[in-house]
């Protein structure tokens, strides 16, 4: 394994860790659920992605696993992360944790799917 590759791997790891940390940190630091939602759902996803790339490289060059199988993990992650985020956001909205703007063109009551009941005075 050459130094260049090694340094590339370390860089990937560093970036990955950085984003993971940022994701978790923002989860802790920010004050509102919807703000927090941003950090983990993608900073972490990107972080894991970087770590996975590092892993692919590492295994490929260390000869323990020639196939870039970790890409599959990334693929799954990129599919599932939006699902989770979407659902969590919907859940939070259903608890009225944020004020959402009225939907343009659809009158004063925004008819979101599922939450088509009245939510004029959301709390908190």
């Amino acid at each position: 394994m050459s130094w260049i590759i090694a340094i590339a791997l370390v860089f990937a790891l560093a970036v990955g860790c950085f984003f993971l940390l940022v994701g978790s940190f923002s989860l802790l630091k920010l004050s509102d659920f919807f703000k927090r939602l941003h950090g983990p759902t993608k900073a972490s996803t990107l972080g894991v992605g970087c770590v996975l790339i590092a892993s692919v490289g590492y295994h490929a060059f260390a000869g323990t696993d020639p196939q870039p199988r970790e890409l599959l993990i990334t693929a799954f992650l990129f599919i599932t992360a939006p699902i989770s985020a979407h659902l969590m956001a919907k859940a939070a909205l259903s608890l009225h944790m944020a004020e959402q703007p009225p939907m343009p063109g659809a009158g004063s009551t925004p008819g979101t799917d599922g939450d088509d009941h009245d939510q004029e005075q959301p709390s908190t």
């Binding site: 950085f18 703000k35 941003h38 599959l72 939006p82 959402q100 703007p101």
Partner: protein
């Protein structure tokens, strides 16, 4: 399922892209690419999609796939770039952040397209898609740092929705 006679291709190979995905998936998962694995992958590629396609509720069409690589490139770039921006925002003082919701009007009607757009919006830092209106004409997006709503909408429509409409007409 469908009482009308479906052409054999529809029945046995409902979704070629899916079959290709499964094929690649299998080869990728196994230790090595051998003839045996390839055969197995072929079998699965033929067997699984008809089974999975039963779940397909809307049978949306897939259009030209030519735009996919460019789209992927733009996406990767955006993800990395905006991630850094968001990281800086997060690490900076919180009062600089002004979050807000916006309703993004949608032109795309293909459900796969909408799904892809939602995913992309969520994966691009700074925005999380939170809800889809019942008529699927509007997408509720939460923006971490909302300075100019119209700019955000414009960006989304230009950068993501337009190419997606090509892929999923």
């Amino acid at each position: 399922m469908n009482p009308t006679r479906t052409p054999w291709r529809k029945r046995w190979l409902p979704s070629p892209p899916l079959s290709v995905t499964v094929f690649c998936f299998w080869l990728l998962m196994n230790d090595a690419v051998t003839v045996g694995h390839a055969l197995m992958a072929l079998v699965l590629a033929l067997a699984i999609p008809p089974f999975a396609a039963r779940l397909d509720r809307e049978f949306a069409r897939i259009g030209r796939l030519g735009g996919v690589p460019r789209m992927a490139g733009v996406l990767a770039l955006d993800i990395v770039r905006s991630n850094i921006v968001v990281a800086l925002q997060v690490l900076g003082p919180e009062r600089n952040i002004t979050p807000g919701f916006i309703w993004v009007p949608l032109d795309i009607a293909n459900i796969h397209g909408i799904a892809a757009l939602t995913s992309i919006i969520t994966l691009t830092p700074g925005t999380v898609s939170s809800s889809l209106s019942a008529d699927r004409r509007h997408l509720l997006v939460h923006v971490l740092n909302l300075k100019d709503p119209d700019e955000v909408i414009r960006q989304i429509k230009a950068r993501y929705e337009a190419p997606l409409m090509e892929i999923f007409p």
